[in-house]
Subunit: 123 residues, 2 copies
């Protein structure tokens, strides 16, 4: 997800114009829908977590990939990061108001997929 | 996005259990949030499109990547594909009911991001 996507809807739609010019929005879209970004945002909806708790929650993520994902989401303003000056330092992550706003439709998306694909169908 | 992600929420939450065992749900999540899957699903919300129209709408996508993305989404049941026996054959894509269901929170996600990052702030 490195290159910038540009989106030109068939019918001109002002709400997507931003994808042409605003690199920040394009970057945030990439980070939110990235391999691990999705799971970080969903995991934190249940409450703040320490780095090792996040790593344990999201199976298959490497320490390096998780650190990189968290850095991008903090930079985008979706997460906050708190460092406590203990030895070793305790680092906690949580959703900002923006992160919570974005987490809502993301959770809805996954709920709809899992509901549709669960053996019992729509619950 | 090749490897399967597994998600273990800190608090046991039945709605995410599916990510442990149900590979189909995990695959669909990967396809929907893939680099180009996102844009295909959003592009088709305005109406059915032919292959070349999709390619023109989504700037930066190669023919190969678009074909691959469309194949995965058709396989997942999110898109239908209609081939007309003309010379050359005309291939049209559209959203199934499931695709439309998934497109809703996806559109909401991007609307929230673009609204938040647009110069005028919340509109």
């Amino acid at each position: 997800m490195a290159e910038g996507a540009q989106f030109t809807p068939a019918e001109a739609d002002a709400s997507y114009e931003v994808f042409h010019t605003d690199c920040l929005a394009r970057d945030v879209v990439d980070h939110v829908t990235s391999r691990w970004g999705v799971w970080v945002l969903i995991a934190l909806r249940n409450g703040d977590l320490r780095f090792f708790e996040l790593r344990r929650s999201i199976r298959g993520v490497s320490e390096k990939m998780l650190a990189q994902t968290l850095r991008a989401l903090v930079h985008d303003g979706l997460l906050w990061r708190k460092v406590e000056p203990t030895t070793p330092p305790q680092v906690t992550y949580g959703l900002t108001e923006f992160g919570r706003e974005i987490g809502e439709p993301l959770t809805e998306l996954f709920d709809r997929i899992t509901r549709r694909l669960s053996p019992s169908g729509t619950q």
